[in-house]
């Protein structure tokens, strides 16, 4: 039966996290935007304690065993992530926890691997994990990965360079955390996609170095690292899934399936940033007694009213696409199409909504005295990372047309 109301349990999580976002994130958001590359350790440690004790936070829900929660785990995560990103997207991304790396382990790891690598997220000190896919020579084209993994006795030997690795510093530098990086590498370049496997590399593994953290337009509280692998040796059992190279690229599809779970989360993060801007504009209009007259004929509206309504409607459209994708995942349905729709729409909408919000506020919107301009900078990443706008449209197109990546590229 159609129902647009969040379950009380999720609504409670949302409200808790909203408090947290408002009181623990907003006050330091500007600081860690200006002081790029500095880490908000107090916030990090607080979040770590919180998620361990109260089960708050996106990482937490995964561990909770409580049935009712698990039945809506993905949706719950989306709601949580929207709130945290409403607080600050950069700080949200900087939060410790399994993140994309953990997601990959959960999706493709053996029970033993899950146990071995996920357990550290229950420790006392904050831990990060990250996923390293992009390379200087390959952006959206994951199949072109150059990083190699060669079998040598009981080890895999990794060589190559990874860039744009979110939280790569925190997950890969042992002085930061006892984390790990899930690295995509090819065991057989001639096999193309089929040859691509993912490997778990622990922080501090000799041969892996964090070479650089990027200076970015936004989400500056979160590090975006370059990782270099030089004869980096890891135990043979740190490959995710089978080492066999299948004839088809099914294996690769498996790896890609991770994104069906993470794209709605990425979309939810985008929504948080967009809603932050929308809420700000709404409050400002209220302060100036400028009404938004819903139900009034369009030709009677002011430019501000229509812009606001358009922002509101498109943001809600993106939110509902996101909730649907998460809801399907929770029901165990394939959501590859819907997840890409959510990500594509949310990325585009929040880019437009935040850009428009800055315009509506005029000089105030453009000033770094307010957070609006920051949200515009933070928002744009959602059009790009975890699958660009174009990549998501490509996935949607392939699915609705029933085309392979050969038939439509």
């Amino acid at each position: 039966m159609i129902d647009y109301e969040l379950s009380p349990d999720i609504a409670a999580t949302r409200d808790q996290l909203h408090m947290l976002a408002e009181h623990a994130m907003r006050p330091i958001a500007r600081d860690y935007d200006e002081r790029e590359h500095e880490k908000p350790w107090d916030f990090i440690n607080m979040m770590w304690q919180l998620s361990k004790n109260s089960g708050i936070g996106p990482g937490a829900s995964k561990d909770k065993k409580d049935k009712t929660t698990d039945a809506e785990r993905n949706l719950r995560t989306c709601i949580a992530v929207e709130e945290l990103s409403w607080g600050d997207a950069g700080l949200y991304l900087a939060m410790p926890g399994p993140g994309l790396g953990g997601a990959a382990v959960m999706a493709a790891g053996t029970p033993e691997q899950k146990d071995r690598f996920m357990s550290r997220f229950k420790g006392d000190k904050p831990v990060w994990s990250a996923m390293a896919i992009t390379e200087p020579g390959c952006g959206s084209d994951s199949a072109a990965i150059q990083t190699t993994a060669a079998r040598d006795g009981d080890h895999w030997v990794l060589n190559g360079t990874k860039i744009f690795c979110t939280s790569g510093l925190m997950a890969g530098d042992p002085t930061k955390s006892n984390g790990f990086i899930v690295v995509w590498a090819t065991v057989d370049r001639s096999a193309g996609r089929a040859g691509i496997k993912s490997f778990i590399v622990n922080a501090g593994t000799p041969g892996m170095t964090v070479a650089k953290c990027e200076d970015k337009l936004g989400i500056r509280a979160s590090d975006t690292a370059t990782l270099i692998f030089e004869d980096c040796r890891i135990p043979a059992d740190q490959i995710l899934g089978s080492p066999e190279v299948p004839k088809t690229s099914e294996g690769f599809k498996g790896v890609m399936a991770t994104f069906d779970a993470t794209r709605p989360i990425g979309a939810a993060s985008a929504l948080g940033v967009g809603r932050a801007a929308l809420d700000f504009v709404r409050d400002e209009l209220k302060r100036q007694n400028i009404p938004i007259r819903y139900g009034t004929a369009t030709h009677k509206l002011t430019v501000i009213e229509r812009d606001f309504m358009d922002m509101e409607a498109s943001l809600q459209a993106a939110r509902l696409l996101t909730w649907r994708a998460a809801w399907m995942m929770d029901r165990g349905q394939k959501n590859n199409l819907e997840a890409s729709m959510a990500k594509a729409k949310a990325g585009l909408v929040v880019t437009q909504v935040t850009q428009k919000a800055v315009e509506l506020l005029g000089p105030l919107g453009y000033s770094r005295d307010l957070l609006l301009e920051k949200w515009m900078r933070d928002a744009k990443i959602n059009d790009i990372f975890e699958g660009t706008q174009q990549i998501n449209m490509m996935i949607i197109a392939r699915r609705i047309l029933g085309y392979s990546s050969k038939e439509l590229s």
Binding site: G295, A317, L320, W323, Q390, I400, L408
Partner: protein, 367 residues
């Protein structure tokens, strides 16, 4: 708890309407548009789906099902997927029955509702729109004035569906209260009322199969029991229109998207299907995405209405969004077909003409 799945009964209704739209409605769509006429046997077949009778109380001969805006949205989308004009024709009786069941006086219900419980299609209509650029459904130029125990209705309406057949019209007019302020008031008007004149059949860019007329009211005497509730009633009714029209926009957009997608997979150029070109493929992807987005927004408004909550914001935003996207999607669908899209051998130009109506439509269908 979040759930985007229709309940079983709603799915059954949808399945029925889906096949009716596919097997009966769509095959007639083009000819109905060209001739400006919908075959009466098709209308009768549609009547027999029971979409009107279903929510008329049993005491008045109906099935007595509870009214559901979501069910109404589903039906509206699927019928409009078949053809917008035919959908509006088939659902026109609801323009009177739904408001009556919700807000009608016992006497009026008793007098009118039984007419819609029969075997044969019974036309009804709504006279909401007005022939003016600055039309605002919530502040119509048509006026209702107190006259003793009765009221006097004056004004001119346009885009009145089945104006020539309908016995009863739902009308919204501005009712001046004591303080000189006016609020929109809904009422039911009998076509036999002296002073009511039904004009010529209208000629529009789209909706050509739907027989719309102008209707003018010249000091029409309206008994007080013909009034439906107060301003709040108009608010709820207008939100029900918006949901129905937004749903029809989804249906038309989806029809265009499906048509363009299948064409693009068949049509070959430069040695491959044109759908294999990014420019075309991404257009189709956007259409698919927006069709879903339109529906999700519309159902949210419908869901609120079914909870008896105020849904003005949601319904207004959903209707605006759906209207804009329906135009964009149908226009892109025509673009995908290129020259063939401009030819009336294909359906997309019809979808575009019909889709252009949504931005201005008020009160031509009700969920």
């Amino acid at each position: 708890m979040i759930n985007f799945e229709l309940e079983e009964e709603q799915q059954l209704i949808r399945d029925t309407v889906v096949s009716f739209a596919r097997d009966e409605v769509r095959p007639h769509a083009r000819e109905a548009d060209e001739k400006g006429h919908i075959p009466s046997d098709l209308v009768q077949k549609g009547w027999e789906l029971g979409l009107v009778q279903s929510m008329i109380p049993e005491e008045f001969g109906g099935f007595g099902n509870a009214h559901s805006a979501i069910t109404g949205a589903v039906v509206a989308e699927e019928l409009a997927y078949g053809d917008l004009s035919i959908a509006m024709h088939l659902l026109a009786p609801r323009l009177v029955t739904v408001p009556l069941v919700a807000f009608g006086s016992p006497a009026l219900k008793k007098a009118v509702l039984p007419r819609f419980s029969g075997e044969r299609f019974e036309a009804a209509s709504a006279a909401i729109m007005e022939p003016r650029m600055d039309f605002d459904a919530m502040a119509p130029a048509s006026t209702l004035k107190r006259d003793g125990d009765d009221y006097l209705l004056d004004g001119e309406k346009c885009l009145v569906p089945l104006g020539n057949e309908a016995r009863h019209f739902l009308v919204v007019a501005s009712l001046a209260n004591g303080t000189g302020e006016a609020h929109p008031q809904a009422l039911v008007v009998d076509r036999e009322t002296p002073g009511l004149t039904v004009g010529e059949r209208e000629r529009n860019m789209g909706l050509k199969a739907l027989a719309t007329t102008r209707v003018s009211f010249d000091r029409c005497k309206i008994p007080r029991e013909h009034l439906l509730g107060d301003a709040a009633a108009v608010t709820r009714l207008s939100n029900l229109w918006r949901v129905a029209q937004a749903s029809m926009a989804v249906g038309v957009a989806r029809a265009a998207y499906d048509y363009a997608r299948e064409y693009a997979k068949e049509r070959r150029a430069f040695g491959q299907a044109i759908a294999q070109k990014q420019a075309i493929a991404f257009m189709l992807a956007e259409m698919a995405m927006e069709v879903d987005a339109m529906r999700l927004l519309t159902w949210e408004a419908a869901w609120r209405l079914d909870r008896q909550e105020d849904a003005t914001r949601e319904a207004h935003l959903a209707k605006r969004y759906a209207a804009d996207m329906a135009l964009k999607v149908t226009d892109n669908a025509l673009q995908v077909l290129g020259g063939h899209g401009y030819i009336r051998d294909h359906m997309v130009e019809l979808f575009l003409r019909n889709a252009r109506s949504f931005a201005m439509l008020e009160g031509l269908a009700i969920a």
